[in-house]
Symmetry: C2
Subunit: 372 residues, 2 copies
């Protein structure tokens, strides 16, 4: 695999929107018992259900550590491709490559620096050296060339419309535990260079108590160019209320790269949901890993869905609110089939379906055998 | 990845000859310090040179254990695809899948049982559980369906002409440390079912002191249908002489699946070569691994080359005999470029270039994205 010296923008590449066609989807297998209760078995079943749901729409590849290979294989649908890939945890959105395209079938990958959402200053675990290698390993398997971006960033911290606009939060991208040496202008400059965008829309904080430091992918996402869906609550005394209100106002005032105002749809949030005592008791304690006490408010949001070819795979989190959320998503994506997957076990680990997936945009075939 | 219930022959599949077109080649990274001297660094350089030589002709993928990933990447040509894959040692020919085709672009893989060349009765190391998983992991990456063959066999123990004939040795296939419960007729029946052949040509013993128990791929191979190349020595008192003479006579008497007599070319062997005291001193001793003492006769043979698309990658083993061997190979393969790679370090580990490679025959694209 070749690592390229320039930037995607300089080479005519940009990140396509998630709602554009995919060649497939990557995931990682949840394993660590200090983040996934009961030795990760309930999470593994949930991840397997997500993978099976996505595999109805597009090919799914999952990375698993060597020792867990045969166990994972036994839980997974036969259509799913399982590959050995070490990792520190299972958030492919954040540790995987961000794919960029050139509009002529070319696909390449951006490999960001990763520091476990904050490094030694608020990060969630130590070490994270295997996570740091995941993006390049995915690119090796895919046979795609790599850009190494010179800043700490996670895939869940960015959304794009595929037409020149990025959507991010200040809480993540300007957090001193990511790139304290960079100004806002310098961060924007890197987003332009590595995502091929010309306009960056900044929201403020992410979902309340989101341990990623407010990833955009739990708060808001593009539904199509010019249209955004936003996690919303009407509960006046919920600390989430002011966050969603501020985001709504910023989105209302924003213009995208083509000068459009954005249409914003409010997607009601579940809960509030908290971690139960029995759930917390299922977690192993490990030095260096942020503990998850019982009673912790969970950063539950229906915005954390995955857009597949022809489908939406959404988290089911609360029987009282799931049907309404599904109705909104069906309305937002009339051309796609909305599939719900029970996802509380994923939420307990700190994220949801979008966080554990990474799409590969459609491209021309990678490995051209030189047969003579 | 799906495991199929029937057999390749029943499904219209057969193993194509190595000289037919490839989609690529698989290898594994040498790591274990009890088999590769000086912490495997000299062998790693040799494997990297083999991979670079093959990559001139076709795509190369290499499996490496997680802890050695970045070291291997640093030694390898950028064209080579590196994938994490645990293994007990680095003999992809023997632990990888044997690919079969249906002549209409379909490619599948046969996953044989593996017992480290003899299990607890003369095998070379213990355990071999990671080797046993390599074939299915390769098939996962390639997106190819799998047959699980019900017998112990290694890829180096079989050669085929792609037209219905298999070439094997009794020393390997009838060894009591492989499948003691099977008769010769039953072994043949399995070869018919899993390789799609109708005729099996049995040679007797393999190369002298070959610790694989006489793999065919160190002794003889098909050059094209109806033509075989045989490791040969004129040294009358060399124990190899009687082995080669017997093989020559059996090949002379044989008919292939189409009723043809075989043309046999003698490929002179190097040496005899032995392991030096300093080479033996570079090996770590580990319980359960067969020791390699100084003075051991090495199973050196030029027949252990790899046929790539448009190329032959041959081992260089002895400056006194390399040029003559290269001349024979150039004559045997007029349409291919013969590339020599210094291979003594591979030989010291117990095999050579053919043993560390496994071709993927040409097929139609595996993973068809269902984009709507």
């Amino acid at each position: 695999m070749r690592t390229l010296a320039r930037t995607p923008a300089a080479d005519g590449y940009h990140m396509p929107a998630e709602f554009e066609p995919h060649d497939g989807c990557w995931m990682l297998w949840p394993e660590r018992p200090d983040n996934w209760r009961e030795g990760a078995r309930p999470a593994q079943r949930a991840f397997a259900a997500v993978a099976a749901a996505i595999a109805q729409f597009e090919p799914v590849s999952i990375g698993v550590s060597g020792p867990r290979f045969t166990e994972a294989r036994a839980l997974l649908d036969a259509r799913i491709r399982l590959l050995e890939m070490s990792h520190d945890d299972s958030w492919m959105r954040d540790v995987g490559p961000t794919f960029v395209v050139n509009g002529r079938g070319g696909v390449r990958g951006v490999d960001w620096h990763f520091n476990a959402w904050g490094g030694l200053n608020g990060g969630l675990y130590f070490p994270w050296d295997q996570d740091e290698l995941v993006a390049r390993k995915v690119l090796e398997v895919e046979g795609r060339e790599r850009y190494r971006a010179p800043l700490v960033l996670e895939g869940g911290a960015i959304h794009v419309d595929g037409q020149g606009t990025a959507l991010v939060t200040e809480e993540t991208l300007l957090n001193p535990n990511r790139n304290p040496q960079l100004t806002r202008a310098q961060v924007e400059q890197h987003l332009r260079a590595y995502l091929g965008v010309t306009q960056v829309i900044w929201l403020g904080r992410g979902v309340y108590n989101d341990e990623t430091d407010g990833h955009i992918d739990n708060l808001a996402c593009f539904v199509r160019p010019g249209e955004v869906c936003l996690a919303w609550t009407d509960r006046a005394r919920d600390p989430q209320r002011a966050i969603s209100q501020d985001a709504w106002e910023r989105l209302h005032d924003a213009r995208d790269a083509r000068g459009r105002r954005l249409k914003v749809t409010r997607l009601p949030m579940p809960g509030p949901l908290t971690m139960s005592a029995s759930e917390a008791a299922g977690l192993a304690l490990r030095e260096g890993t942020k503990p998850r006490p019982a009673g912790d408010r969970l950063a539950a949001s229906y915005v954390n869905f995955y857009i597949a070819n022809g489908g939406i795979v959404m988290p089911l989190l609360d029987a009282r609110t799931d049907p309404a959320a599904a109705r909104v998503l069906k309305r937002l994506f009339p051309g796609r089939r909305v599939v719900g997957v029970p996802a509380r076990e994923i939420l307990l680990g700190g994220g949801n379906i979008h966080c554990i997936t990474q799409q590969v945009p459609r491209g021309t075939r990678r490995r051209s055998p030189s047969v003579r």
